[in-house]
Symmetry: C2
Subunit: 266 residues, 2 copies
DNA sequence: GTATATTGTTTATGCAATAAACAGTTTGGA
DNA sequence: TCCAAACTGTTTATTGCATAAACAATATAC
């Protein structure tokens, strides 16, 4: 015999992974019992601070709790598992503001902003990329990203499926670029995390190992120092990222013209 | 007082991470002592078998050793750390054969094969995506991929930097697609790993949570079931992947025409 | 033949996630 | 008003992990 209340929402929250339910505000604060000394945002912020400083591997339940003056087990009164904590961290740093209006019909600029907003998260929070993707986005802030991207495609005369494909393409690109940029940043600061390495540090080794017989096409590029980006002027991940993004946008544009514009492609 | 031998190669191997040195065959078998009962390939193969069956998290030093009838510590006589084992696993499954000749001037087909060869690894070895990227590729099989891709761009009149940017773009796309495809496969087999989830399983929940006020652009797409791919006929990751790839190739083609054709850019 | 390099093993350390039991705290309903 | 239920944060314990150290056995180089 259940209360009438909001039965549908209850169903929803029951069928959702607990961490996801938290992000949607579907988990209610308990009424009875002692006053809580912590809160979910406090815990998530503390975890983010640790990850920002020392990387994701430094985030342990006991270290997060310790930084709040509590024991590890106290966190489990708020967040049921470490995986849920990671999800909440992702969601928290995805809470970015988008410019309300982009030039009304400049969809390319809209999509550029979409991609750069994503890569900025990776730059500000290098650990973001270390959390494995566990499925399609179903948390509020991730969906805000999708929603905002869709806002730039209002004039597209294509199906929702195609729009989602485009968003997927751009999100994936943003993720990959964010990782690249992070790696480049790390390489420039050199001796950061041990165990990390970039080709940059090994160009000397590569020049001995990449032989023309075994790697006929790569050989001249390695020898010219083009593989490891030895030339300062080109050694900027931003260039690569911009280049790739413009290529993708070109491709989308071509597709749109083929499907929507005045004359078809042939 | 060192032997004359191959001093340069010694230097190289000293400055390389140990796991990378192994992949290049720079670590020599010891001469003295009892006969070895294991070998690096045996260990790596055993680890891959476990990861294929039960996922990367099931790969522990003791479980790998156990499957070979040995103790965990014996593995350390061959491979200095678990991170190195992961690197060797990556390298091993990257040992794929490429078709020797593609239609001579069909660079698009060449690049399609490049991307599909990469995604096939992710499909055959779902754990491949769970190993975090630790930097630019410097192992032989990863470089073979790069070399082979370069082979498809011989006619491009662009710098090595641009070619590397294109390869980076396509590799990243392949990785993202491989992950997507793996996730879709998992979703179809439904109750695989607990903790994994796909939007597909939560379309009912999403339809209640995605309100038109909060997600004006996403709302109609979720309601139409287009977000979670409810329609069988469209619910195929391959379509998405192919679509995105063709868009990227379009973009590259457009860039090439702008740079290589009749008139130069400036 | 012996010193030495190397083997696989046992034992031990430290850290991690998290289950279980516990004593104190607040509140809704009697 | 009071008590049972729902909570709190903690202590303790379990299990699994990577890996360091010490060890006796073994094969080779000189």
């Amino acid at each position: 015999m259940q209360k009438e209340g909001n039965k549908e929402l209850d169903n929803v929250s029951e069928n959702l992974p607990h961490g996801v339910a938290i992000t949607w505000g579907l988990v209610k604060e308990p009424q009875r019992g002692p006053k809580r000394e912590l809160s979910i945002p406090m815990i998530v912020d503390a975890a983010i601070a640790i990850a920002d400083r020392d990387g994701l591997s430094a985030v342990s339940m006991s270290r997060v709790a310790g930084s709040l003056g509590h024991t590890a087990m106290s966190l489990y009164r708020y967040i049921p598992s470490k995986d849920d904590l990671l999800l909440l961290m992702q969601e928290a740093v995805s809470n970015v503001a988008f410019p309300p209006k982009v030039g009304a019909d400049d969809w390319r600029e809209h999509m550029r902003i979409f991609v750069w907003s994503t890569t900025r998260i990776y730059r500000d929070h290098p650990w973001f990329a270390d959390i494995p993707i566990s499925g399609a986005p179903i948390t509020p802030n991730s969906l805000r990203f999708v929603d905002w991207a869709l806002g730039g495609m209002k004039t597209f005369r294509v199906s929702g499926y195609v729009k989602m494909s485009i968003i997927l393409l751009l999100s994936n690109y943003a993720r990959a670029s964010g990782i690249l940029q992070r790696d480049m940043d790390r390489a420039f600061q050199s001796g950061t995390t041990p165990g990390e390495f970039s080709a940059f540090d090994y160009s000397a080794a590569l020049k001995q190992l990449v032989t023309p017989e075994r790697f006929p096409n790569l050989y001249p590029i390695v020898m010219a120092g083009e593989y490891t980006g030895e030339n300062e002027e080109y050694n900027d991940a931003g260039n690569d990222i911009e280049f790739g993004l413009e290529r993708i946008l070109d491709g989308i544009e071509q597709y749109l013209h083929g499907n929507e514009g005045g004359e078809p492609e042939e």
